[in-house]
Symmetry: C2
Subunit: 125 residues, 2 copies
Amino acid sequence: MPDFIYNNKIYYNPVEFAMDRIGGTWKMPILWRLKDHVLRYGEIKKSIPHITHKMLTSQLRELEAEGFVSRVVFPVVPPKVEYTITARGTKAITIVEVIRNYGLELMKDFGVPYEKIKTQKKMQS
Amino acid sequence: MPDFIYNNKIYYNPVEFAMDRIGGTWKMPILWRLKDHVLRYGEIKKSIPHITHKMLTSQLRELEAEGFVSRVVFPVVPPKVEYTITARGTKAITIVEVIRNYGLELMKDFGVPYEKIKTQKKMQS
DNA sequence: CTGCATCCGATAAGATACTG
DNA sequence: CAGTATCTTATCGGATGCAG
């Protein structure tokens, strides 16, 4: 007696559904980077520490397939691909921010040290 | 160059940290059930469709270990154990609600049918 | 009733190599 | 530069059995 099915997967509640779209280790960090920048693949890669090539590619594919980011391929050599956040992605950012702030509170609560609270203006190098 | 370490695990951002505490398939549904009820193990079990014995036990253990729920054992036969949400758990519920509402919006957005939008007043049978 | 341990299959994710 | 494919390991989670 599943609640609903989407993409051949059974879901039992809306939270699970939302988390499958924007959850996981990397999707939120990716959306976060695209918040107010259009970025190339390599730029995203450089800006997210420890993410592997495979993970970044697959997560971008999923985010694109579900309309959170859009992918523009420039037919040049060497290849150039830009990723832009969509309206749906921007909406998701709101949730990311809520969770992020909560995470910061929790960390404080748990006594976990964390420095870069300050918003990062410039993203890489 | 990890951002921080907690419980022998490396985290790279606050979102990941938060999701490790209250994320996953079952933690939010569990907290949700305890929102305004003190429940016994078996009651939680019955109220969450498809959750397995193993998963419920392990998730409750983690939630307890990190202070989101408290566990009271009554020294009777047969055993009786009650789970209560803590202040920290109540705070988490706020986030759960935000994510849940977002999930509902997303589902509408994706055209996923879902009936029981109405708040469930009574929980089981 | 509640909880723990064990086994095992499914899935996620890292490393690496190859392509246009 | 960006993307795909393969191989391999690690973790998650289901089923089951046993115990106080």
